[in-house]
Structures are given as structure tokens and as C-alpha cells.
């Protein structure tokens, strides 16, 4: 049985003063329902999650107490990916025909401040100043640049592309393109990563209406198909965030195994993907994720970025809406925004940021603490 996506909805990322995170989630669900031409009472099930904005199942207070099965999902940055995987399985099993996946969040300004105990780590690690995601991404990027001959130029180009795409995306938080020089001269936050190379915690909501593909024609003239949803966690030896130590032999990251599983399940390869969203917590991470997801060899990124391959008109368009860098990261919603954007592109509704030549196959990838990745493949 195939799984269709028949409705997509976003509550604009960034800052929504006066609206709770939950209200932004409800807004996204209403937009997705309107897109599908359905109402809340048609929903047979829901999966949803947020980090800082409350229990997703309390959304029924906003949307209606219809008695549906509503399951809260919390899986770090892969919350959206895990919610979508759960919905995918619910449809695949034949138990349900139509339901909703929703993610939302509203974070305080500034960097996240995780509690060591929540991650199975003793207090000293946080107290001495090593429990920062920004440090991890910098440490991983620093080593990656050393091993694979990536220079600062590539880090700058990723950010330049992100903010250019953001300027073409009406729903993006950061709407202003930044020049190469502005990025290159922005403050160093955590060497080698500068201010305009990091995404910020933000607010927003995203929702998808998921349906049994056999019945999609009842609801939609333009269904898309969720070919696979794969979520994987870290292996012994993979270099992951919040790790007081690492094994000597570096193993594949969770992204590598999630990506391989997704391609295997979908029966296609990286060469078949026309448009993609790769987790860009920072510009170094996007570069690493290009190779970890199988879209290029390690080290090849320098040349690809110089040629503009990852731009909207390039051979491998990445993060066409500006990604996390231009949209910020409301953790619960971020992974579903990626799917939303890929759906927009596959429908040909991208406007100024539309990838040319009628893209048919899209790919999304999230990565988060403490080392988990979620990959989705979506087709026309």
C-alpha cells in the first residue's frame, strides 16, 4: 500500500509575537486541511511533537475534540521525521486512511541550553562548558575540512546560497540576501563557523495531511507519494553531538545509514533525486551532509559549491527555501518544513524559487542530538 501526501500547511517560521507555539501548530494544521479540502473531523489519527511549546495532543483544544487517536512524538530534531514515519506506518498497516502530522515550537532567544541528565550525561560536562551543539558542529566541521580539503570559501558559499534562497521565499524568516563579504566578515562564533553560518532557534509550525494512496484521488487532484520514511540512530564510533569521548575508529554517522535505508526501500539512488533538503544547522553541516547522504564524494563539495551546483538552477538544488539557515529552527516543526518545501517544488508552486525542469523526486534529511537522522523520499 502506498502513502500519499494530500495537504501541506505552514505557519510562517521566525517570530510570531502574541501567538503560542501551540497556536502556530494549529495554524499549520488549518492551512494543511484547507490545502487538502478537508476538515479536522475527517482526521482519523494525528502524530505531533514540539520541544518547548507543550504537548502536541493539546492541539485538540484549538482544533476540536473529535476523539481521534493523537500520539505525541518527541525525538529531538528528528521529531518531525519520526512523526511522519509513524503516520507512514499507520497508513501502511491499513489501520487508517487519512490523518495529520504536525510539528511546532517556540524557543527562547539564544542558543539551546540542554540539561545533561536528559541526555544521560553527568553534570560536570555541562558545567565546564562542553555541552553546546554549536561546539559539536564546529568540531566536526573543523576535522572534516582538515580530512577532505574543504576551505572556508565553501562554508561561505553555503550561507550565501541559503540567504539568496530565503530572499526568494515569502515564508522564510530571513528574507535578505547576504553578500559573500558580509558572511566572510561576520563574527566568529565557534571556529571555523561564523555568525551567518549558524541557524537560530525560532518559532513556527508545519503540518501534512497523509492518506492511503488508493483513496488519494477522492481528496486531491495533485497527490504526492511518500515513498519511504527512515529514521536511524547513531552507531558505536560515529562522531555525534554531546559526546564526552569518541571511539578511535570513526563509524558511519546515523545519516549514512538512514540515507542508505531510504534509498533501498524506495528502490532508487541519489542520482534520481531532483530537489533536496539537507539539515543545515550550520553551513559546515550541510557540506558534510551532502556526502553522508550519498550525493557526492567527501571533498567533492568544494568544486560543486564553486560551480553553484546546489543553487536553485544547479544540478543538485539543496534547501531551496533557504533551509534552517534562513528559516530558523523550531525543533518540532523543522523536519516537516523540509517536507513541505519539497512538496511545493514537486507541485511546481515554488514561484521565484522554483527548481526548473519539472522536478519529480524529492529528498529530505534531518539530523539532531544525540545522533539521529530521518530521511524521506517523496515523488510525484
Amino acid at each position: 500500500m502506498d502513502v500519499a501526501i494530500i495537504g501541506i500547511g505552514l505557519h510562517r517560521f521566525g517570530r510570531s509575537p502574541g501567538l503560542s507555539g501551540m497556536q502556530q501548530g494549529a495554524s499549520a494544521v488549518r492551512n494543511a486541511l484547507a490545502d487538502a479540502g478537508l476538515s479536522w473531523k475527517d482526521m482519523q489519527f494525528a502524530y505531533g511533537g514540539s520541544q518547548d511549546a507543550g504537548n502536541a495532543d493539546a492541539l485538540v483544544n484549538e482544533l476540536g475534540l473529535t476523539g481521534l487517536q493523537f500520539t505525541n512524538i518527541w525525538n529531538g530534531c528528528a521529531t518531525g521525521g519520526s512523526s511522519l514515519h509513524a503516520a507512514y506506518s499507520a497508513i501502511k498497516s491499513g489501520e487508517y486512511d487519512v490523518g495529520v502530522v504536525v510539528g511546532f515550537d517556540k524557543h527562547p532567544r539564544g542558543a539551546f541550553n540542554p540539561k545533561p541528565a536528559d541526555w544521560g550525561i553527568d553534570e560536570w560536562y555541562g558545567e565546564t562548558g562542553m555541552m553546546l551543539t554549536t561546539q559539536f558542529f564546529a568540531l566536526k566541521t573543523q576535522r572534516y575540512m582538515h580530512d577532505h580539503g574543504i576551505t572556508e570559501e565553501s562554508l561561505i558559499r553555503v550561507s550565501e546560497k541559503a540567504f539568496t534562497n530565503g530572499s526568494l521565499t515569502p515564508t522564510a524568516w530571513r528574507q535578505q540576501a547576504l553578500s559573500y563579504e558580509e558572511i566572510a566578515n561576520s563574527a566568529m562564533i565557534s571556529d571555523p563557523l561564523r555568525k551567518y553560518m549558524f541557524c537560530s532557534p525560532a518559532e513556527g509550525g508545519a503540518a501534512l495531511i497523509i492518506c492511503n494512496a488508493d483513496k488519494a484521488h477522492l481528496y486531491s487532484s495533485k497527490p504526492l507519494y511518500l515513498k519511504t520514511a527512515a529514521v536511524r540512530t547513531r552507531h558505536y564510533g560515529s562522531f555525534e553531538v554531546f559526546a564526552p569521548s569518541q571511539a578511535m575508529n570513526v563509524a558511519d554517522a546515523s545519516t549514512v545509514t538512514a540515507s542508505k535505508a531510504a534509498f533501498e526501500q524506495a528502490g532508487i539512488g541519489p542520482e534520481d533525486i531532483d530537489v533536496m533538503q539537507l539539515q543545515d544547522t550550520d553551513s559546515g553541516t550541510e557540506i558534510i551532509h551532502m556526502a553522508e547522504n550519498g550525493f557526492c564524494e567527501h571533498g567533492e563539495q568544494e568544486k560543486l559549491l564553486r560551480e553553484g551546483a546546489t543553487g536553485i538552477n544547479g544540478s543538485m538544488p539543496i534547501n531551496t527555501d533557504g533551509g534552517c539557515l534562513a528559516n530558523g529552527e523550531p525543533v518540532g516543526a523543522s523536519g516537516l518544513r523540509q517536507v513541505y518545501e519539497v512538496c511545493v517544488q514537486l507541485r511546481g508552486e515554488g514561484g521565484a524559487r522554483q527548481v526548473p525542469n519539472n522536478p519529480k523526486v524529492g529528498y529530505t534529511h534531518v539530523y539532531g542530538a544525540p545522533g539521529l537522522s530521518g530521511v524521506n523520499i517523496i515523488t510525484k
Binding site: W124, Q135, R143, H146, P244, S245, A247
Partner: protein, 146 residues
């Protein structure tokens, strides 16, 4: 009189004239962990032993923390007195890469592959109970060229 108290038991030998980082080694697969773990994350064995990881290593990656972290960071510093600090992974002869604060806080003073040595340093003074104990943590600094 104030005492020098490790920030956490079992991270390093203390008190000691030549302190060593402490970790655990799996009896079954010989993989090493820091800090010491009762279980092995590689093979799942529940038999591990405490081992000394050494007091020198090689810098595997590094960054510089330029802003004062929010909680759970707990030092004596204020926004005014905060000094950037290095953070890196140091490859230990004991067979594991350990994340640590680093003494250098300028990019020109840090390079992947440079030899580093362990320092046990006072990190903050614990004044909450009036004892004034010095809370000790570990840090790595470059091995000075002879």
C-alpha cells in the same frame, strides 16, 4: 582551609603528583570509554575495568567557545570577566578521544595533530556552603617544544 575537590569523582586520579585521566576498558572487546562506563557501548558487555588513559595526547579537532554559555554552564565568571576558551578532542594513548577544554583560545595557537598535555586546574570556587572548596577540572594545553 579550602580543599581541592574534583568536579566529578572518577574523571582523573586526584590528588596526585602526576594526574591521569581515567576511563574504562571492556573486558570482552577491549574498547575504551571516557568517562568510565559500567557497560560497553560497543558490544553490550557488562564487564569493564577502570584504566588510566594517560596524561598526554594528540589534538584531533578543536574550536573556540567565544561567548559565555548559558546554564548548565557553571563557573565563577560573569559576562564581564568571561574569557573565550578552546574545546577539542584529544586522542589518548589509552585508546579513546576525549573532549576537553583547552588552554589556548586563539586559532593561531591550535592545530590538528599537535601534542597536548593534561592539566588539572581549579575551575571555580564553591562558595555556596561557605567551605570555599576549589572545584578542580581537567584541561589540555600544548606540550611546549623543548
Amino acid at each position: 582551609m579550602s580543599n581541592q575537590v574534583p568536579i566529578h569523582e572518577g574523571l582523573f586520579t586526584w590528588p596526585s603528583a602526576k594526574p591521569q585521566l581515567l576511563g574504562s576498558r571492556c573486558v570482552n572487546c577491549a574498547e575504551t570509554a571516557f568517562p568510565a562506563q559500567p557497560d560497553c557501548r560497543n558490544c553490550g558487555s557488562r564487564e569493564t575495568t577502570i584504566v588510566e588513559l594517560g596524561d598526554q595526547g594528540i589534538l584531533w579537532s578543536w574550536t573556540i567557545q567565544t561567548f559565555m554559555p548559558k546554564a548548565p554552564y557553571k563557573s565563577d565568571e560573569t559576562a564581564e570577566t568571561f574569557q573565550p576558551y578552546g574545546v577539542g578532542y584529544v586522542e589518548m594513548p589509552g585508546g579513546v578521544r576525549v573532549e576537553s577544554r583547552l588552554l589556548p583560545n586563539k586559532p593561531e595557537d591550535l592545530q590538528i595533530g599537535m601534542p597536548m598535555k593534561l592539566d588539572i586546574i581549579p575551575f571555580r570556587t564553591d562558595g555556596t556552603d561557605g567551605s570555599g572548596d576549589q572545584i578542580m577540572t581537567f584541561r589540555f594545553s600544548p606540550v611546549k617544544e623543548a
